[in-house]
């Protein structure tokens, strides 16, 4: 692999030396284009991506950010091309749903760009101007379950609630991982999983949550999109610990922040990009316990003791060093 991801046409010296601003396409500006399949104002996963990007861009001198949300995956390619025609230096896809845009990276319009793609799977054939950032959701969800398990041990609860949208492969795996996490500590624990069918239907989310609270859950995981807040609110009212789906929202009343925030990974990539060290064609894998992210942390008023914090840190570390194999755990305790 050569180190200079796609800066071949750059007359201003591309991103070859650190400290210099990486105007990959050489038009004198640095512009980052973000394409997101989700709602950019969901107070959660998708929003965090652009929020972090915006923060980073604001710190740089003269950088610019263009963000497009709610993109239909069927439109991914067209939107990516449009981005390139705008003269962006970097095309950042906010989630792998838009991976179908990747072929554009090899087209002429996008020749002088570098691409960023987060993913939870491997196996992409990466062009040499594409950077992949990979994490595993089951790791985070397992740790999330573990963290809640710690709190539930104290409260004596044996059921936890998991509310999510459509019954898709990834939400099923998430629910199973979460349950496996809780059962690390409370083997007989039950995770009540409700699929509302829609990430944004807050009416259904509220009813599902209400029903779960009625069944006496000792912790709530609203693993949703736009409906997250509505469901979480009920958890707050019921006084049970609530977990965040991906971002750090400790200030908002949540007990546990489960952080697999795509914005954090992206910020790291931008860091490299700014330093001229972003290498195309490579995959950066984010491992819990090894990297600072993904991670799970207790919030201030969660009632977690220092001991709990330590136990959680230990658990995360053992996932990181391979003592605990998340996949095997999910297999064992997930269903």
């Amino acid at each position: 692999d050569d180190s200079d991801g796609g800066s071949d046409g750059g007359s201003s010296g591309g991103g070859s030396s650190s400290g210099e601003q990486p105007d990959v396409n050489g038009d004198g500006d640095v512009t980052i284009g973000v394409l997101s399949p989700g709602d950019l104002n969901d107070n959660g996963y998708y929003e965090s991506f652009v929020v972090k990007a915006q923060e980073f861009v604001d710190q740089q001198d003269g950088w610019e950010l263009i963000q497009v949300g709610s993109i239909n995956p069927a439109d991914a390619l067209e939107q990516a091309r449009n981005m390139c025609r705008q003269g962006v230096d970097m095309v950042a896809l906010a989630a792998s749903e838009l991976a179908d845009a990747l072929p554009a990276a090899e087209e002429d319009v996008c020749a002088d760009t570098i691409w960023y793609l987060p993913s939870q799977t491997e196996g992409y054939e990466l062009a040499d101007n594409v950077v992949l950032s990979q994490d595993s959701a089951s790791e985070s969800l397992l740790a999330a379950g573990y963290a809640l398990g710690l709190l539930m041990q104290d409260s004596g609860a044996t059921t936890a609630g998991f509310v999510t949208g459509p019954e898709l492969d990834f939400s099923i795996i998430a629910a199973q991982s979460f349950q496996a996490g809780v059962r690390q500590l409370i083997p007989e624990a039950e995770v009540v999983t409700t699929y509302t069918g829609d990430f944004d239907d807050s009416g259904l989310a509220v009813e599902a949550t209400q029903a779960q609270i009625g069944q006496g859950i000792g912790g709530l995981y609203p693993y949703l999109g736009g409906a997250t807040d509505a469901a979480a609110e009920l958890g707050f009212e019921a006084g049970i610990p609530v977990l965040t789906p991906g971002t750090d929202r400790c200030g908002d009343g949540y007990a546990i922040s489960v952080i697999f925030d795509p914005g954090e990974y992206f910020a790291a990539a931008l860091e490299d990009f700014a330093a001229g060290e972003l290498v195309g064609g490579e995959t950066r894998i984010w491992r819990m316990g090894v990297d600072p992210l993904p991670t799970v942390q207790f919030c201030e008023d969660s009632g977690a003791t220092a001991e709990h914090e330590q136990q959680l840190a230990d658990f995360i570390a053992s996932v990181g060093d391979g003592t605990i194999d998340p996949t095997a755990e999910v297999e064992r305790l997930g269903s």
Partner: protein
């Protein structure tokens, strides 16, 4: 029967107007000029409103107009995208023209398109063989899929008399769930996945050799096979509707089913097949999107092409010849809007801008017709014809 009536009775001109007439165009008349005038006005109002909103969102109205233009027709890249969008719109619209002509108002194209894409995808992924054969079979299968879906409505209408508008609408929602089911069932079309990680709700991509060819290399002008298919279909359909026995009978059925029956038309067969055919065109559009642009089945693959295609047909007053330019216009609107999104205008606003512009193109023909009628009813008369034959109340085609 429904809101839509055909344009029969256009004065036929010998030879000179033959070709023009056969694709359903007319020499620009006073009406056309009036429509054009109102259109300019409406578009100005829509753009004005859009500008207001964009200013509110700290954007620049001038850039909005510029982006709409750049993204659609300013250069070859824009045109390429416009044509890519226009092809499925046109195909759907052609189908809608057929159904409207026959007096069965199909509004379920979105679902028919989805089913078409699904069936096409199934064939493309499962059938082995030389590329062009598989492609052809997949496209035909897509058309069959769409046709079968609208065929359900046709069967219900002709056996039970259920309202076609209602059943096609309901079936659209059902189609969406059928496709969801297909892409979430590993045994059907769900993605095999790549290595670890969850499988996404979509099918595998169709291999490269099964993708529709396109001539030219983006950002130069590219013209996909889909566009060619759509244009050829337009010409064929325009001629058939205007000149063939089938077209004649279809028009007759749409305008007066009783008289058509008297003249030997079996409504359940001709009207039913028109409905099926309109679904088939929508299904074909689904196949073209699948093999031409998206390459895999996704629940959102229909992307409003069905609804917008119907809109195209309505604006074009069910004339294939008019549907062609209208489809290009709506295709341009789509590509312009998506380019606008890429300039950083909030994506919600882009939707709003696009909807406003659609309205700006839909309103004028109707307004113009209403206006023309009002004028005609008021017009002072110099001398009165002996018998009021030529100017008896003419039925206007108000469809949109």
């Amino acid at each position: 029967m429904t809101t839509v009536s055909g344009p029969a009775g256009t004065p036929r001109r010998p030879l000179a107007g033959y070709i023009v007439g056969s694709v359903g165009l007319r020499r620009p008349s006073a009406d056309a000029w009036r429509t054009a005038g109102i259109t300019v006005l409406c578009v100005a109002v829509a753009v004005g409103l859009a500008a207001l909103l964009v200013t509110f969102a700290d954007g620049s109205p001038v850039e909005v107009v510029d982006a709409l233009f750049t993204g659609s027709v300013a250069d070859t890249a824009g045109w390429s995208q416009t044509l890519v969008n226009a092809a499925p719109l046109l195909l759907v619209a052609l189908g809608a023209c057929i159904a409207n002509r026959a007096g069965v108002f199909n509004i379920g194209q979105e679902g028919q398109l989805l089913i078409g894409a699904m069936v096409g995808c199934f064939v493309a992924l499962r059938l082995q063989g030389p590329g062009w054969i598989v492609i052809t079979v997949a496209l035909v299968a897509a058309a069959f899929g769409g046709g079968a879906w609208s065929g359900i409505s046709a069967a219900m209408y002709y056996t039970r008399g259920t309202n076609v508008v209602v059943t096609t609408l309901l079936l659209t929602f059902i189609a969406a769930q059928v496709v969801q089911f297909a892409v979430n069932s590993p045994s059907l079309l769900q993605e095999e996945g790549m290595g670890s990680g969850p499988a996404r709700p979509q099918s595998d991509a169709v291999p490269d050799y099964l993708r529709l060819a396109s001539f030219g290399q983006y950002p130069d002008l590219t013209i996909g096979v889909g566009v060619i298919v759509a244009v050829v279909a337009t010409v064929v359909l325009a001629v058939l509707l205007a000149r063939s026995r089938w077209g004649f009978r279809l028009t007759m059925l749409g305008l007066n089913p009783m008289a058509a029956r008297h003249a030997g038309v079996r409504a359940s067969r001709l009207g039913g097949s028109a409905l099926v055919l309109s679904g088939a065109f929508a299904g074909l559009a689904g196949g073209v999107i699948l093999l031409g642009t998206v390459f895999r089945l996704q629940p959102a693959i229909s992307n409003n092409f069905g609804w917008d295609g119907l809109l195209v047909a309505l604006v074009a007053r069910s004339r294939p010849g008019l549907a062609l330019p209208v489809a290009v216009l709506f295709g341009a609107l789509r590509s312009g809007s998506s380019y606008l999104a890429a300039t950083g205008v909030p994506d919600y606003l882009v939707d709003v801008v696009q909807a406003l512009l659609v309205l700006a193109f839909v309103v004028p023909p109707v307004l113009s017709t209403l206006w023309a009628r009002r004028l005609r009813n008021r017009a002072p008369v110099a001398d009165t014809p002996a018998r009021p034959t030529a100017a008896a109340p003419a039925k206007e085609e108000v469809q949109v």
